[in-house]
């Protein structure tokens, strides 16, 4: 079976996520865009697994989900803490560590 529609969808999702990370200021939205990129790559991996007829891609996708889950926990905790201290969830406000 041809996997190109899935890959095209994956590329679209990844691009949306990418643009979101680069342009949005709200930390929650940036975070969601990161998740979108991860899941886009998951979709690509699963597609390749299906096309090649083996389980390698699925296993990789599984690992990505595990890492993403862990990342969400840590990331949300950091965002919460920053929001509590600075009353803001804008990523541009947290820019003290610079030249």
């Amino acid at each position: 079976m041809s996997g190109s529609p899935f890959l095209v969808l994956s590329a679209i999702l990844f691009t949306i996520g990418c643009v979101g990370v680069l342009t949005r200021r709200n930390a929650i939205v940036v975070f969601m865009c990161v998740e979108l990129m991860l899941n886009a790559s998951n979709l690509a991996l699963v597609t390749f697994a299906r096309v090649n007829g083996n389980l390698d891609g699925q296993v990789a996708a599984f690992f990505v989900m595990v890492v993403a889950a862990a990342e969400v926990v840590v990331g949300l905790a950091i965002i919460m803490t920053i929001f509590r201290t600075r009353r803001s969830a804008s990523v541009d406000d947290a820019s003290l560590l610079k030249y």
Binding site: C18, V21, L22, T23, V30, V91, D92, A94, S95, L96, L97, K98, Y99
Partner: protein
């Protein structure tokens, strides 16, 4: 130069020390121990006994030297070289240099001279330095000097010799600058040290070349292999050793330190000029006869250096009003005689050593006598302030007179025999060299007579408030002993004793070929000497000596007063260009090296100032660079795959 090269110089082949010769190392150890004790405990703690300890150690060494010498005399002629290895000093790969001592006919004579005259100078110093607060330290330095010189003449290889060589340089530096509160003394000490370093280059390079050529630095090993070395190497070795000898023995062109070295206390001058230091160069040349016998060029160089120096020193001696500087000029000149004789090869080695011994006696006598006069005149050294001292200091006068007769070469005093032999050998070699020694003898007679006349005769020209008095016994007794030695030192040549004695070390003396009977030459020399004395009487003795040096004098006198412009030459040719070169290096360092280093640093600082702007603190800019990097990697992969 028509020196017949010896087929081969004698090989040094010592037998292991046995019996009394096991005490050889003690000769060095005693004064070294004295120096260590006095210098480590310090001036204050040792001031009560340092002078006694200093004298005792050197006298002890003298007694041992005497016992060794008598034992050596009793031995068979073929068995008169004794070696002793004190310990294994350097042992690295193929390089072996034990701390080995060699006691043979040559070092035996040196041992007696150094410890004998050294003891007398030590005893004299007890009186001379009595009122100096740092007398203890002075004796520590004196002991160090003697220990270093003994190491120099007893070492059985060039490395041990070098150790003593440097030790002598250090001790002379310390003693010349003993009155370091006087800037002139500090400068003189530095000058002596620096000029000696120039000579030491020759010594160090020579030692290295010995090792590179022969694989050993021991006298025994080199003298055995000397025949196999090529002539060019031998010439280089000879010239390097000559450079070393010039530095220590104050020969032209490294003569300039000797006159300034008079800044030290007078016993130091006596020690430097008679028993140690300046004799080291002559010892080096004679000891290295196995090198010089193979290289006519280096021998010629030694003769030329000796001839130039003997005239140079004599001319300087003529114009000096400072009694010590006049004597210093004469030392330079007399060492020139020895160098010249040593350069004549087997024809002169024995006479060089003979003159060295007699000179050791009469020059110590003269210097200590000069010290006694200075003592009487409240440390005034200007002979123009002396005059008519023969009555005031009779013992000093009589002993000084014997030294004077010895140095100008009036029979039967010691200098006559030794100088006459050198002049004969010089004429046997070359007419020009012979004439140089003859003229030198005449000038010597002139300037020494001048010293005598200005100091002891004529009218009183004393400074006000000066009341000359004879020195204490502790100073006059060494003078008497030295005067006796100056009178009787010539006995060594009777029956050619010293020539036969040294023959196993330096080779047998070849037959002398003179156009005339030697007695004629001797008479000619005596006439020249008497002419010198007469000229001195006519120019100095007959007239009233002015109390200040006349300013309107001939060019020759001005030149001699300025040490024949030796210092001016060094300053103009070596020091000023050296200064300018160093200044150039400083400019290069500031404008070249520093500019490059500073430029690199500041360009990096500028770049980092630019690049750190990348750290904006905004997450999205970091994300963008991350994305850009990822895109670049993808593009690179694509490019590789497509191509």
């Amino acid at each position: 130069m028509s020196i017949p090269l010896a087929a081969s110089a004698p090989v040094i082949d010592p037998s292991p020390a046995s019996g009394v010769f096991n005490l050889l190392w003690v000769v060095i150890a005693l004064p070294a121990l004295g120096a260590a004790l006095i210098l480590l405990l310090g001036n204050r703690r040792t001031s009560g006994f340092a002078h006694l300890l200093g004298c005792a150690t050197v006298l002890g060494s003298f007694v041992i030297s005497l016992v060794l010498f008598v034992t050596l005399l009793g031995r068979d002629e073929s068995d008169r070289q004794v070696g002793q290895v004190v310990y294994n000093w350097v042992d690295a790969g193929s390089f072996h240099a034990p701390f080995g001592l060699l006691y043979d006919q040559l070092s035996a004579l040196f041992l007696l001279l150094i410890t004998g005259v050294g003891s007398l100078i030590h005893i004299y110093s007890v009186g001379y330095m009595e009122h100096d607060a740092r007398r203890a330290r002075f004796f520590g330095y004196l002991n160090l000097f003697v220990a270093a010189m003994l190491t120099l003449v007893l070492g059985d290889n060039y490395l041990v010799l070098f150790l003593g060589w440097e030790g002598v340089g250090l001790a002379s530096y310390l003693l010349i600058g003993f009155w370091q509160h006087k800037p002139s003394a500090a400068v003189a000490a530095k000058k002596a040290f620096v000029v000696n370093r120039v000579g030491d280059i020759g010594m160090a390079l020579g030692t290295m070349l010995f090792f590179a050529t022969f694989g050993t630095v021991s006298f025994a090993g080199i003298s055995a292999a000397a025949d196999r070395a090529d002539d060019l190497t031998m010439t280089f070795l000879g010239l390097l050793l000559l450079l070393a000898a010039c530095g220590k023995s104050a020969q032209v062109p490294l003569q300039s330190w000797l006159l300034d070295a008079m800044e030290g206390p007078t016993p130091v001058s006596a020690l430097i000029h008679a028993a140690t230091m300046v004799t080291a160069g002559v010892y080096l040349v004679v000891r290295s006869n196995f090198v010089f016998d193979h290289t006519e060029l280096a021998q010629t160089a030694v003769v030329v250096v000796g001839a130039v120096t003997l005239l140079w020193g004599a001319i300087i001696g003529c114009a000096k009003d400072d009694i010590k500087k006049a004597l210093a000029g004469s030392t330079m000149s007399q060492i020139g005689y020895m160098m010249l004789a040593a350069g004549l090869g087997p024809a002169g080695y024995a006479f060089a050593i003979f003159h060295l011994l007699t000179h050791g006696f009469f020059k110590a006598n003269l210097f200590l006598g000069a010290g006694s006069v200075m003592h009487a005149m409240d440390d005034d050294v200007d002979m123009r302030h002396y005059g008519a001292l023969s009555k005031a200091v009779p013992v000093t006068f009589l002993t000084f007179a014997i030294g004077y007769l010895a140095i100008i070469g009036i029979p039967p005093f010691a200098g006559f025999w030794s100088k006459d032999k050198i002049i004969e050998a010089a004429f046997g070699d070359n007419l020009v060299v012979g004439l140089a020694t003859l003229v030198g003898a005449g000038i010597t007679a002139f300037y020494m007579s001048r010293v005598m006349l200005m100091t002891y005769f004529g009218r009183k020209r004393w400074e006000e408030g000066v009341h000359p008095h004879e020195s204490p016994k502790v100073m006059t007794i060494p003078l008497m002993v030295l005067a006796a030695l100056s009178a009787l030192g010539g006995l060594l040549i009777f029956g050619d004793w010293i020539v036969d004695w040294l023959a196993p070390v330096v080779g047998p003396e070849p037959e002398l070929h003179l156009g005339v009977p030697t007695i004629v030459l001797t008479l000619v020399v005596l006439v020249v000497v008497l002419v010198g004395v007469a000229v001195a009487w006519l120019t100095v003795g007959r007239h009233e000596v002015p109390r200040t040096a006349p300013a309107k004098v001939s060019f020759a006198t001005r030149a001699a007063r300025a040490d024949l412009y030796g210092d001016a030459f060094n300053e103009g040719v070596l020091m000023r260009p050296g200064d300018r070169f160093v200044e150039g290096l400083v400019v290069f360092d500031d404008r070249g090296v520093d500019a490059f280093v500073d430029g690199t640093a500041s360009s990096f600082r500028g770049m980092s100032g630019t690049f750190r702007r990348l750290q904006t603190g905004y997450v999205r800019s970091y994300a963008l660079s991350l994305l850009g990097g990822a895109v670049l990697v993808v593009l690179a992969l694509l490019a590789v795959n497509i191509a």
